[in-house]
């Protein structure tokens, strides 16, 4: 049951996106997120969608695999969408479609709902392309490198990155351990699947105690192993895998600049999201 999480998100493949520098990918995703929130009409969202599809295509990750990451927050998307549908209000006059007591459904609400759902959808899809194509270690390296300027204000960037990579490194190990302990306790008749919330929480004690004990044991071992290799912090440390900036990353950065510029132009040219509505109303519901 925990196997899905064991390997994190990473999807091994050889592709353009996989080969990009993690820093470029992180910057690109930041630009992408900005674009998703900047886009003010459906043309803008369409442009972002095109970028997303291109990204997925060049990453060679099956589309279904990327879609699966949305599954986890599907509930959230539906929930916010429904709330928006029934309780949308704005200063302007609404084109009411249906009304019952205090619940109203208007054309604006529908448009707003679709818009919001698409935004969330694109957001999750885009970020999961990043995590699907970048190993956690590369991601931490990228973040460390991008945060380097913070060293000037004595922010412990290296230590933070080290903590992150150790945490990431131990997720699969501890997951394995958890699975093993769960199996062992199941063999002794432990039942994790029935009963109410409190019963289930209590049933986890025979798993959590040994897990905690082993985590401390591992931490101690790791500390000793690092001491034995004379680890003494960031000072004078070199890297085994150096991040290199290649033409791919230049392409990525140029594309992200193009994306944001494009969105700004689309916003200016087509107006807000209800402009579409005005256009339809103007053409089909004259009078």
């Amino acid at each position: 049951m925990l196997n899905d999480v064991t390997f994190g998100q990473y999807y091994p493949a050889k592709s353009f996106v996989h080969n990009m520098d993690p820093r470029a990918k992180i910057l690109f995703v930041i630009a992408y997120i900005v674009a998703v929130f900047l886009a003010d009409n459906f043309f803008g969202l369409a442009a972002v969608t095109v970028f997303l599809l291109l990204g997925v295509f060049f990453s060679r990750v099956p589309f279904g695999r990327v879609l699966r990451s949305v599954k986890m927050i599907l509930f959230l998307i539906i929930f916010t969408a429904i709330l928006n549908l029934f309780f949308y209000s704005s200063g302007a006059e609404l084109h009411i479609l249906w009304q019952w007591k205090f619940i109203t459904i208007s054309w604006e609400a529908i448009i707003n709902m679709v818009f919001l759902a698409m935004r969330l959808f694109l957001l999750v899809m885009g970020t999961s392309v990043l995590t699907l194509t970048t190993t956690p270690v590369a991601l931490t390296d990228g973040i460390e490198s991008l945060l380097t300027p913070l060293k000037w204000i004595r922010f412990p960037v290296h230590e933070l990155a080290l903590i992150m990579s150790i945490a990431l490194r131990f997720i699969p190990t501890l997951m394995d351990e958890t699975n093993r302990i769960i199996s062992a306790q199941k063999a002794r008749g432990a039942d994790f699947e029935t009963g109410g919330l409190i019963r289930r929480a209590k049933a986890m004690i025979p798993v959590l105690v040994p897990l905690l004990v082993s985590a401390f044991r591992r931490a101690e071992d790791l500390g000793d192993a690092m001491d034995a290799r004379c680890y003494s912090g960031a000072k004078g440390r070199t890297k085994y895998k150096k991040l290199t900036f290649t033409w791919r990353d230049l392409v990525g950065l140029l594309l992200s600049a193009a994306l944001i510029t494009g969105i700004v132009f689309l916003n200016l040219y087509f107006g807000g999201k209800f402009a579409v509505f005005d256009w339809i109303a103007g053409n089909f519901f004259v009078g």
Binding site: A184, Q185, R188, G189, P206
Partner: protein
């Protein structure tokens, strides 16, 4: 309970790039009353197989019948199955969690035997703790985390056998134990085997352990059973085992070396039997009546002539083994066999070792 697996398959992480087929069609039957060994290198599917036996891994392909339980049936009563098929994982001491050893051992009992009252439970816990060779009154109120490594493992095993499972499965039970601990553990298994525990299944890398203890064994490789039979049958296929990256018991190594010198020994690869066979061979060749003191002198003399060196050294050690009532002698004889194997090693070293071995025996008793 008879265990029958037919065409059992299992794939980890199916339909993902990490998919790996651990079992590719396992056919195996284990009869009630056996002391069964499962051999195989890492990743051969042996652990996956044994986890199927008490439904820790659900059957996804093939058939599996354990006693009256049909494990392919989704409505199978898994809780009752698990009370009948006990499972001791590798390093079981890492599953200890309760505040006291007594409570930890009681855990399985509370889950499986809900109708028991407190007095009955206390009695069962006492029995289990005493079965694994610990002092119940001294240990019951101590935290399992402050016990020694060996004690922890015993408490963990007590936690599994407290429900008296008919089938007991142990994954590398002796891993990380010292020779004495290993021997005591095997003695423990033999003492419960045949009583309430009808079948014992051990997964092991240690071929000596399999040869000495098991009535039958199966060799797993790449998700299939490649060899199955008595240890004598399996270990006579040494070339097959070597090609699978596995080893044979020390006795089989010795038999191999002897065969190179033209001496064939038909043994079932237990130390006792091997020593007996070598002894009778030696007696047949030299006539009877020579005491062990003479043998030791001979062994020093035989050092120069390479051909005689190994058999004589073996004879000497087997004599030593016989002296010590064959109790913890397997360990001692093995050490000496190692020494004997190395024909260049001088025999005084071998003698020192054998003396050490006997000293160890003294400690053991």
């Amino acid at each position: 309970m008879r265990i029958v697996a037919q065409g059992l398959t299992y794939t980890y992480n199916p339909k993902s790039p990490f998919a790996s087929q651990a079992l590719k069609g396992v056919d195996l039957s284990i009869e009630e009353g056996e002391f069964f060994g499962i051999i195989g290198h890492t990743g051969s599917g042996k652990s996956t197989f044994v986890q199927h036996l008490n439904a820790l891994i659900r059957c996804t392909g093939g058939k599996l019948q354990v006693g009256e339980f049909d494990l392919t049936d989704k409505k199978c009563d898994f809780l009752r199955l698990r009370s009948k098929v006990g499972m001791v994982f590798q390093y079981p001491e890492y599953q200890l969690f309760a505040e006291t050893a007594e409570k930890d051992v009681e855990f399985g009992l509370k889950n499986f035997c809900k109708e028991m009252d407190e007095a009955q439970r206390a009695q069962a816990v006492r029995e289990a703790i005493e079965t694994v060779g610990l002092d119940y009154d001294a240990i019951r109120d101590r935290s399992p985390f402050e016990l020694s490594g060996g004690q922890k493992r015993r408490v963990a095993i007590a936690g599994v056998i407290v429900t008296k499972p008919e089938v007991l499965i142990l994954d590398e039970p002796a891993a990380g134990l010292d020779p004495l601990g290993k021997k005591e553990l095997m003695d423990l298994l033999h003492s419960i085997h045949g009583g309430w525990c009808k079948t014992v299944i051990i997964v092991s890398h240690d071929m000596d352990e399999i040869a000495e203890n098991c009535t039958r064994a199966a060799v797993f490789s790449e998700g299939r059973v490649v060899l199955c039979g008595t240890p004598a049958e399996i270990f006579s296929r040494d070339e097959k085992l070597f090609s699978l990256g596995l080893d044979v018991p020390t006795t089989a190594h010795c038999a191999l070396l002897l065969r190179k010198h033209g001496i064939r020994i038909d043994t079932d690869f237990t130390c006792d039997d091997f020593a007996q066979k070598v002894l009778s061979l030696w007696q047949a060749e030299r006539g009877e009546g020579q005491g062990s003191a003479a043998v030791k002198e001979n062994s020093a003399a035989a050092k120069d002539s390479e051909e005689d060196s190994s058999p004589v050294a073996v004879k000497e050690n087997s004599a030593a083994a016989k002296d010590s009532e064959g109790d913890s002698s397997p360990a001692a004889t093995q050490e000496n066999f190692d020494a004997a194997k190395d024909s260049e090693g001088d025999s005084s070293a071998a003698e020192t070792k054998s003396a050490d071995g006997q000293g160890g025996d003294g400690d053991a008793e």
